[in-house]
């Protein structure tokens, strides 16, 4: 239980990454695959933020006077995650446009039926 308590966020992050990867590898529906990709992204973001967290820390904003800078959580992972979230939505939008276009060509979202190219 103490292990769970100490590593809740890591478990959440890796849980999301693994569920996402499993969806990408095992599911055959293209929309599902894209949902899996978005889970992987969220999981990695959660991992980065948890790495930067400090117990009892405050948000890195000098919102009122008298906040000690030494108690603040790490701002860099937060900056990186802002970038990563935007990259995630960019990839997702592009992927879904490809999915829509593929559906218009093949009439299905099943990857087993979309096999024009030989492997």
């Amino acid at each position: 239980m103490s292990f769970l308590n100490a590593n809740t966020y890591y478990i959440a992050a890796f849980g999301l990454i693994f569920i996402g990867l499993y969806i990408v590898m095992a599911k055959k529906n293209l929309v599902k695959v894209v949902i899996g990709l978005s889970f992987v992204d969220s999981g990695i973001n959660l991992l980065l933020i948890s790495i930067g967290y400090i117990k009892g820390g405050t948000a890195p904003i000098f919102s009122r006077p008298g906040i000690s800078p030494l108690k603040m959580v790490d701002p860099i992972p937060q900056a990186l995650v802002l970038t990563a979230i935007v990259i995630g939505v960019a990839v997702l939008a592009l992927a879904l446009s490809l999915v829509v276009k593929l559906y218009q060509q093949y009439g299905t979202l099943d990857i087993r039926k979309i096999r024009g190219l030989k492997w």
Binding site: L37, V40, P77, T83, I87, L94, L98, L117
Partner: protein, 489 residues
Amino acid sequence: MVNPVLLIAVPLGLAFSLPIFGLISKRLEKYLPVIAMLFNLSLSVYLVPRVLTHPIIVYIGGWAPPFGIDLFVGPVGIFFSVIIALVGLLVSIYAMDYIKEGDTGKYHVLFLLLLTGAQGVVLTGDIFNLFVFYEILCISSYALVGYLRDRDGLESAIKYLVQGSIGTGLVLTGIAFIYGLYGTLNMADIARQINSIKPAANFITLALIITGLGVEAAIFPMNAWLPDAHSSAPSSISAILSGIAIEIGVYAIARVIFTIFGATDILSFVALVGIITLLVGEMSALKQNNIKRMLAYSSTGQIGLIVFAFAIATSYGIEAGLFQILNHSLSKALLFLAAGYMIYRTGSMEISSFEGMGKRMPLTSLGFTIGAFSLIGLPPFAGFASKFLIVKAALTKGGGLYTCLIALALVATVIEGAYFFRVVQVLYFRGSNENVTRQEAPVVALVPFFVLAVLIIAIGIYPGPVMHVLNSATSEFVHRIAYIQGVLR
């Protein structure tokens, strides 16, 4: 002094402004990539002599590393940026006539941004910044592979996108671990502290990053996307993907292994993977009847050879690897560009349909032949020098493993010769001898063929100046202490 950050800022600014120019006049759009790449080429060539004496370190925003992002413009960076600008310029000249269908303005924006991403990857000195530019490169290539919007293009684009996103996800996880372990993102700063942590944690981090980058570099077994993507994209994009994008992947891997981790103990494994990639690629290329798929598989093979050369890790080996990158960029770009117009004229990608091309399109066929001969490694083309160097490096390294592997590499070269000669034979010695009308490629396409062919021959005959740059570039990879001290003064 001209600031090297302009190599990234100017193409980026032009790419942002391109849609506005497109509103003014549709005809302007296609000239902007040419202007941007002309600027980049002249600036990089101008910077070469300065960089060789002393690497230039640029602080973005005036923050000294490790607190801000820095650009490390060393010999390696400038070597790659000359290749990117040169091949990019020639391909954008070619694309002025070649790209006619679809929303051409958007094609030119994406093309320019792809090159900007590649440019950023080779210059940056910050690992997360490398990741961001890497994503620029990857995402614009996903979009460009699907540009023609036919069934094959869309299918390979989504395949490429899914595999590439998993790869970049692994890279980002690796970067998260690096940040957690070392508390910094600057490459030199990480490299300085890398031995302060137990090797097991480092090894997993390194494995995650290399696996992720290996997807874009198409190293076996992560190369499933490459033949589809490179063969279904428009030919100009295939030339860029084969000539630049995968080399950038190899560069990133080399930078991570040599400079950041200094991990020399995994290199014999990498060499083995390289040779497997080479053999798989060449064997698959041999049985293709589709010319673009053949060239795509051949790219996989060549990447394997380059990875093998880097994995020898002596200064000879790295130098040979860099030389092979140069050779592959020029030759493969030439091959794809020439194949592009042959496909356009015949309307088919089957090799057998190119009979009599030696008469119909003599200059294009000549270009194709020069590219093929250079890739096989025949003298006096550039490929001879680079392959010779690889063999020499492997033999001087010694040891049973490397000798066996280089023997396998030579077998692969024979296979390569077999399938390229088959195409050349179809071009010149098959088909009827009746007079066929000449249907040469347009002049804007012949200019890139001519420049690339001249460069391949010139470098093959007189490799001196190139070797001079390569020597400095090699020492940048070999001497990681100098890199660290250069950045963290």
